[in-house]
Structures are given as C-alpha cells and as structure tokens.
C-alpha cells in the first residue's frame, strides 16, 4: 500500500474545495466557512475523544480561551490577531495541561471525566460573564480594520474560506502524519485497554495529558478563527456546553477516531442545521438542537461507528460478496 496516498488525497481534495467560491452564493459561502470551522474543531476534539477515547464534553473551554484571548488582545492592546493566536496557544496549552494533570492523575474516567469537563466549561461561562473587562454577559465586539491578512480579517467570506481550508487541510495532514507515530498508538492503547497499555510501557497519564493539550490547543486555534470570522465573542457562543456538544457531535456522527470522520460529519450536519435554522428559526426556535438530538440517537442506533464506520462495513460486505462464490453461502473462513 502506498503510504503517501492519504496525504495526496487530503491535499487534492483541499485544492478542489478551493474552487467552491466560483459556484457558491454568499449565503452558501457563509455555510461553507461554518463547515470548515466546525470540521476543524471536531478534528481537534477527535484527538482526545476519538483516538484517546476520553470523551471530553467541555472542549468549548479551549475554544473560548482562544476566542476571548484574541478578542481581548485585539480590542484592548490593539495587537494583531497573530500575536493573539500565539498567546491563545500558550494559554490553552497551560489550561489543558493543568486540567489534564489533575483529572488523569486521579484517574477520572468515562462519565466522571465527561462531567468534570462539562462543569469546567460551564463555570467558564459564568466567570467570563462576570468580568467587565471581557464584556461581561454581552461579550465583545471586535472592530473591522479592513481587508488584511495582517489583521486576519477579510472583506466577504472568500478570505475566511481559504483560511479555513488551510486549517482543515493542516489538521488532516497532522492527524495522518501522527497516525504512524508512537504517540497515536499509545493513545489508541489507552482507549482500548489502560491496564494492558501500562503493562506494555505506556505512561497512560502522560499520554492522556499530551492528548488533552494537543486537542485543547487546536480547539483554541479554532476559537481564534471563529472570533475573527464573526468579529464577536460571547460567553455562550464560544464557551459552554452547547458549543462543546456541537464540537463533538460532528466527530461522533462522522466516525470517532478516523481521520476524515469529523470533516464528513461537519459537511453533512452544519448545512442541515443552518438551513433548518434559516427556515424554522423563527417559528421553532431551537429546532436545530432538536435535529442534533435526533441525528445523535439515529447514529447510535444504526451506525455506532459513524458514517466512516458504516462506509467501511459496506465496503467490506461488497468485497466479501464479490469474492465469495454464490453457491457456497455457509461455513465461515476456517481458522
């Protein structure tokens, strides 16, 4: 098997996607940017949730740290968002390392880990809402400074779109590259069986902390991008459980622990929810949340391994069918 193939596929698809602005209207370009933002965030969550199997329900915390850091630094000190990005990376890394250290050191697992992460991201909503310097409950508006890469601001959606494509291609390449590395194998070992992983020399606590930091930092980068696109950050729009669940739902529906799963999930669900919101937002507020709930339940019932898992199974079945003679339908493979 050609090892370069997955990389080539990512780059080629990324390049083809860049042609979209030629055919999409402004409304659909807006949705396309949203798809990219959420795809990126879902890929970031996939590291801790999908590969390491630690179902964090609070990655909004890191997205919020990213978004608020950049908004605050731009507004207060007039810095370029690129500086904000660096500070956001440092802050989110520190937060993720600290939280990971406490939580994993005391071996919080499964539902307990999920509860702690959700509590932290909710706490962040209330903390931020009560800090006037951060705009309180109303959040912060950011000033538009004109079409300039230095300010990470663009007129219209195309600039953001290309930036989003770069980010998503970057995270896919990163994931693909890491997949052959010791670190990712250790994460999978942790997910599959922690005792066995420890017995094979895997420092499970360290591996989980590293995964949390990597996931957190990338979520913060997504948060920076989100803030720059909307030029607004609010406690509930970047922190909090609704955002946190939104991040993970795309990864779960698309396929946990797969390179493309989170992207596939976002490509299918984001437009669905945006269009529902557009059509039913006034008559049925919150209808897109209802839709998420429905999709989640259906996913768990019919494709527990997400769309990528289902695709794998169908492919196997198809190969099996084409390889097996029709006459001999009984008797499995001899072992």
């Amino acid at each position: 098997m050609n090892l370069k193939m997955p990389y080539i596929r990512i780059v080629v698809i990324g390049a083809l996607i860049c042609l979209l602005p030629l055919v999409l209207s402004t409304f659909y370009m807006h949705i396309a940017v949203l798809v990219l933002i959420w795809a990126f965030l879902a890929c970031a969550w996939n590291i801790i949730g999908g590969y390491a199997g630690q179902h964090s329900l609070g990655n909004g915390l890191y997205m919020g740290i990213g978004a608020y850091t950049v908004a605050y630094l731009v507004n207060r000190f007039n810095l370029t968002p690129w500086v904000g990005l660096v500070v956001a990376i440092i802050l989110s890394a520190a937060a993720a390392a600290f939280i990971g250290w406490i939580v994993f050191r005391y071996a919080l697992k499964g539902a307990y880990f999920a509860l702690v992460t959700i509590a932290l991201t909710e706490a962040a909503v209330y903390v931020v809402s009560n800090i006037p310097a951060l705009g309180g409950a109303g959040g912060m508006q950011m000033e538009y400074r004109g079409n300039s890469l230095a300010y990470m601001q663009f007129a219209g959606q195309n600039g953001y779109f290309y930036m989003g494509v770069v980010l998503v291609v970057f995270i896919l390449l990163l994931t693909q590259w890491y997949k052959r590395k010791r670190f990712f194998y250790q994460l999978i070992a942790v997910r599959e069986n922690e005792d066995a992983a420890e017995a094979l020399g895997v420092d499970t606590v360290k591996a989980k902390i590293k995964a949390n930091v990597m996931s957190g930092v990338l979520c913060a980068v997504g948060g920076v991008f989100y803030a720059q696109y909307f030029l607004y950050v609010g406690p509930r729009s970047v922190f909090g459980e609704v955002v946190s669940v939104q991040i993970l739902i795309y990864a779960i529906v698309g396929g946990l622990g797969t390179t493309w799963g989170p992207v596939v999930g976002a490509v299918l669900l984001v437009p669905l929810s945006e269009i529902t919101r557009g059509q039913l937002g006034n008559s049925f507020p919150g209808s897109q949340l209802l839709l998420y709930g429905l999709v989640m339940v259906l996913t768990m019932m019919f494709m527990p391994f997400g769309i990528m898992g289902l695709a794998d199974r169908l492919r196997q079945r198809w190969q099996h069918r084409s390889a097996t003679p029709l006459v001999d339908s009984q008797g499995g493979e001899a072992s």
Binding site: R180, K181, R182, Y185, Q186, I188, A189, E192, N193, D195, A196, A197, E198, A199, L200, G201, V202, D203, T204, S335
Partner: protein, 242 residues
C-alpha cells in the same frame, strides 16, 4: 553473583485479608521458575506487585540490583520486566500487528521499525497468518500467543507468564510448552504461574509453592511434588495423611 530478581518480605493486604504474606525468593538469570499454589493463594497478586500494577503493603523487590517496588507498571516494563495477563488483555479494535507494535514502541519511536519488530515477534509466537486480523476476531489460543508477542516486543529480560496454558486443549498446551521453552533457550528468564501441572512440571527448573499468601515449599518439580505440605495445600490434610 547477585540474583536477577530479589524479593524480600513481600506482603500485600486488602483490608483484613493478607493476600501475600512475607514472600521471599530469588530468581537467577536464565532460570525458569514455576510459581504454583491452589486457587486464591496469591500468585496473581504477586505478579501484579512484581509488574507494578499493584503497590506492595510492605517488602522490597530488586530487579538487577535496582529497587522497583512501588514503581508504576509502565516504568517497570521499561526496565525490562514484562508480564502477560491471566485474563487476556488485547486491544480489540486494532490488528494483531498493531497490538504488538504498542509494546515495540518501548524501544523505538518510529512506526516502521515498530511494525518490523511487531511482525518479527508475531513470527516468533507463530501468529504471522493472523498479523492483519483484528484482535477481537482471534481465538483464545491466538490471543494467548498475542499476549506473549506483545510482552516480547518490549524486549524483556524477565517475563512473567500468568496462566498462558489455562483454558487450552491438550494439543494447544503442547504448542505453548514448546514456545515458552524456546523463549527460555533464547535467554529470557521466566516466572510462570500455572495450574496446568504438566506445563509447569515440564518447564520449571525450580518451583515455589505458596498457599494463603505464604511460601510453603521450594525446590525442583520432583521435590515439590513429593512434599507433604504441598499435598496438604492442594488436597487437604487428610488426603495427604492417607
């Protein structure tokens, strides 16, 4: 010459229960030691303490002259002391090769080297035909071999084998016997916990018998088999008198 493994006064209490009581023994390089005893006598608890999965309540464990009691399992493993589990512990959703690669990553950072090492170990335990099969699709014998391959991939100097023959058919026991003997001739020191007596008696240079957490006998397989205390432990007092 100092022993490879020196265990002194090893004790583990669970509340009021003393699972392992003041266990003292040595293992020399190249030896094959059988650790036997009736069910619940503390064999697996001893293994768990040696491998770092469980902290001893008291006592010391020295491995190649270095104290290792209380170290975490991953550190112990990286010092060259690996174990297999009584209840097989595969990583179910990845292939046999990938399972073994996780062990191989102890000594290499590169994916390609780890894969080469993993395929080598699978060959060693005779699992090459199943290299690309998901672990959850393997049979018990294959899983037991996989356990050994995973442990071998970490390049252990001392290998703790916890009931690798249990649950296997007679023919399968023979296969496993040959494999473990082969490992020993290749220079790996082994401690085996086993209920399948044919397996232990055939392999061990020396046996340590424990009952209720305490050592009751030590010696060659023949000496141990003829020891009245051992008979008593396994069959009860009266049976041994009769």
């Amino acid at each position: 010459m100092t022993a490879m493994l020196e265990v002194r006064g090893l004790t583990r209490r669970f509340g009021g229960l003393v699972a392992v009581n003041d266990l003292t023994f040595e293992v020399n390089e190249g030896e094959m030691i059988g650790l036997i005893g009736p069910n619940g006598s503390g064999k697996t608890t001893t293994f768990s303490m040696l491998s770092g999965a469980l902290r001893p309540s008291s006592g010391t464990i020295a491995f190649n002259g270095e104290r290792i009691e209380g170290l975490k399992a991953n550190k112990v493993c990286r010092k060259g002391l690996a174990r297999t589990f009584q209840v097989v512990q595969p990583f179910p959703d990845i292939t046999a090769t990938e399972n073994v690669m996780i062990g191989a990553f102890v000594n290499t950072g590169g994916g390609r080297q780890a894969e080469a090492k993993a395929r080598e170990e699978l060959e060693r335990v005779g699992l090459t035909p199943k290299a690309d099969t998901l672990a959850k699709e393997l049979t018990l014998l294959q899983l037991k071999r996989l356990e050994i391959a995973k442990a071998l991939a970490t390049e252990p100097k001392l290998l703790l084998l916890d009931e690798v023959a249990a649950g296997l058919t007679s023919t399968e026991v023979d296969v496993m016997l040959k494999l473990v003997r082969q490992l020993n001739t290749e220079g790996i020191t082994c401690i085996i916990v086993e209920h399948v007596m044919r397996f232990v008696m055939n392999l061990s240079h020396r046996c340590i018998v424990i009952d209720f957490g305490s050592q009751i006998a030590e010696g060659t397989p023949e000496e141990v088999l003829n020891n009245p205390a051992v008979h008593a432990a396994y069959l009860g007092e009266e049976a041994s008198i009769a």
